[in-house]
């Protein structure tokens, strides 16, 4: 019943010298190619930190909160396409990792979370800093381990990395009691991993029959559209997607997770669609007669009322995870396949059979006119708007920066007014929508890509949630910037209040309700992010005047070190377009 995984480039099974369990963990991590880990120590993980102190092969970055460390590990994984690793002690250290684990689960990010656990003799006895972390995380992990025997550490860590990165990636938890870390042993490092579940070592591939059927559907389509998601990026299938779209002459609308898989400046790009996505992208999917859904999952923020979604279209859904088929949306033609294989093979079939794309000139003319007449837009006022700030940042960085975000209005504007021509440039908590993600994720991103400009476009609410990571940036010399779009409110919730709750403010003002700060009332702005940054030894600047915006952003970009740019914007802007939750394209709000 065992299925062997494919041979890997890792060394053959090897018996190491005697060491303790914590050293076995570190040696196993090194064998998996780990060179950085975000780890906050405590009693139950101290042995692991001692072992990390004995190696120079892994950089250990100390965050200032375990949540920050775990979001940083995710930022690293999302930018580098490799497994991110975070570590915390038992109990409260471990529980602080839960948001990032859930986030990695929702967005299919490879993340290994290692937690210390109390001595195994204390498990189940409500010992100091004990929680059942294995039990607590069951619904949000791809897999998890509670290690009761140090001899199993090499195998478990190898399995964990294989599971995190293979198939549909996801988070894996390894909970290690302190006595297991302290045990003395001669470890046996395996060269391969085996799983009883036959689906794990097996990468599904579409059959030629299925793919030829897809080409037939395309050949007979009049209004085809590609709806592509994060799966394209995690499968490293961007080149295949680009070649496929160009060969078939089909326009591409991505999800937020899929941003950059197809160049947004390409004429075939319809940017991203969904609740706050491009009107033309939403109309295109609504009017299409053939939707090719590639590595995406019909999330409710994409579909709105799912029964009305792409109602005129025949839908092809190619995904590596068969449990995504017909989960949210019944489709005509589900195909279980690694998307890189499916697209690569489609391109081969197209070349081999002199495939002639259908005549879609009328459709493209329609798409082009929608795109021309209804771009992402905003009204310029006397003050800096968030949209304008993002646009200026885009211009000054020539679209080449890595952008991370918190969650809310700014997250949408960072996707609307910055254009991404490459994958792994828009780094955001999308499925879970975890505020506080932006700045720690920017730290991880910068560690993964030290030669790139990394900017957290954040809200004043989200930024405050992990503001302590400024210390990590300063002390670890991680040159990541934060551009705060500061409107003194929880902007997205305010927008919903304005639209659906008669503008009654339900705890959405972040300063003094009686004296709310704004570009017109700068004395009341709260808190003073520049002073806070100063306290952490990080350079900061507040900009209120429109004429200073461009120069201020340039100063941030030119500064050699972390930087906080506090951009004061009015709270009255709404993110548009907007398809209210559960509604349809026909109910899209355009202004």
């Amino acid at each position: 019943m065992k299925t062997s995984s494919e041979p890997t480039e890792f060394p053959p099974p090897e018996i190491g010298p005697e060491m303790n369990g914590a050293d076995v963990v570190v040696q196993s991590l090194i064998r998996e190619g780990v060179d950085v880990i975000f780890a906050y120590p405590g009693g139950a993980s101290q042995e692991l930190h001692q072992a990390l102190a004995r190696t120079d092969k892994i950089r250990t970055i100390l965050p200032r909160h375990e949540q920050g460390g775990s979001f940083a590990a995710e930022g690293y994984a999302r930018v580098k396409g490799e497994v991110g690793v975070c570590m915390a002690t038992s109990g409260p250290g471990a529980t602080n990792l839960v948001s990032a684990i859930a986030d990695a689960y929702m967005d299919s990010i490879p993340l290994v979370s290692i937690t210390g656990q109390v001595y195994s003799k204390f498990i189940g006895k409500a010992a100091f800093q004990e929680t059942d972390f294995y039990g607590m995380t069951l619904p949000v992990v791809k897999h998890s381990y509670l290690v009761m025997d140090a001899a199993e550490l090499p195998r478990i860590i190898k399995e964990a990395f294989h599971l995190a990165r293979s198939g549909r990636p996801g988070p894996v938890v390894i909970d290690i009691p302190k006595d297991v870390q302290q045990a003395r042993l001669r470890p046996v490092f395996p060269s391969t991993v085996e799983f009883a579940n036959p689906t794990i070592a097996h990468t599904p591939e579409a059959s030629d029959e299925e793919l030829k059927k897809v080409l037939e559907l395309i050949a007979s389509a009049q209004r085809p559209i590609i709806y592509s998601g994060g799966g394209i990026i995690s499968a490293e299938a961007c080149e295949e997607l680009r070649a496929f779209a160009r060969a078939t002459n089909i326009s591409v609308a991505t999800t937020l997770m899929g941003i950059g898989a197809f160049p947004e400046n390409d004429p075939l790009s319809l940017h991203w669609f969904g609740m706050h996505g491009a009107a033309y992208g939403n109309w295109a999917v609504d009017q299409a007669d053939l939707v090719l859904c590639l590595g995406a999952r019909f999330d409710d923020r994409i579909t709105g009322n799912v029964d009305e979604f792409a109602k005129q279209a025949r839908i092809v859904h190619i995904d590596i995870d068969s449990s995504e088929h017909n989960k949210n949306k019944q489709v005509l033609f589900p195909i279980v396949s690694d998307i890189k294989y499916a697209l690569g093979r489609l391109n081969e079939l197209i070349a081999a059979h002199a495939f002639v794309p259908p005549d879609t000139r009328a459709w493209h003319a329609q798409l082009d006119s929608w795109k021309r007449d209804h771009p992402f837009t905003y009204v310029e006022g006397p003050h800096i708007t968030s949209q304008e700030a993002v646009k200026v940042l885009y211009e000054l960085t020539k679209g080449e920066a890595i952008i991370t975000t918190g969650v809310g209005q700014h997250q949408m504007w960072a996707a609307q007014f910055y254009r991404y021509d490459e994958p792994r440039r828009y780094i955001s908590s999308l499925g879970l929508g975890a505020m506080g993600f932006g700045y720690p994720a920017a730290l991880g991103a910068k560690v993964a890509a030290p030669d790139k400009q990394v900017i957290d476009i954040d809200g004043d609410g989200s930024f405050a949630m992990n503001i302590q990571e400024l210390a990590t940036a300063k002390i670890e010399k991680i040159n990541a910037k934060a551009l705060i779009l500061n409107n003194q409110h929880l902007g997205m919730v305010v927008q919903w209040e304005d639209r659906f709750y008669n503008s009654i403010r339900g705890n959405t003002v972040l300063g003094d309700q009686e004296d709310i700060g704004s570009p017109d009332n700068p004395d009341a702005l709260y808190p003073d992010f520049v002073k806070i940054a100063d306290g952490y030894g990080v350079k900061g600047r507040r900009v209120i005047k429109r004429e200073e915006l461009r120069e201020a952003i340039q100063e941030m970009l030119d500064h050699d070190g972390p930087y906080v740019l506090d951009v004061i914007v009015p709270y009255t802007e709404h993110v548009i377009p907007m398809i209210p939750a559960g509604k349809t394209v026909k109910e899209m709000i355009l202004e």
Partner: protein
Amino acid sequence: MRHTISILVENQFGVLARVAGMFSGRGFNIDSLNVAPTHDKAFSRITVVLKGNDSALDLAIKQLRKLVNVVAVTDFEQGQAVLRELLLIKVKANAQTRAEIIQICDIFRAKIVNVAAQEVIVEMTGNKNKVSAFLNLIEPFGILELARTGQLALTR
């Protein structure tokens, strides 16, 4: 609709919690659940009986197949499998009623496995229909306690 699902899993701690969580997290109420090792001690078989919306259950089964410690999942349709359940029933029985209880047990090929002055314990196996018919007949005598394995299933 009522479903009988057989899940072959690795015999490790935590597997049952993962499998049960796949149902509870989706609002399924499990009617019966049985877990025991197979002939190979490295593997256990979990048999679950539950009622639920077919498409929701289909999704849960697809998710079950993804669990690392799950080897195989079968959702049995009518007639595909042999289905059996074992019951232990403690019934009130005195000198007047004992003979009649024994007679009913004989008809259903149930066994009396313990006898006391005022009660007997009966061991009984059968499919769903046989079990409910037997319980209907035994009930009037007064059931004191009842334990059942839940339904077991093997492909024909």
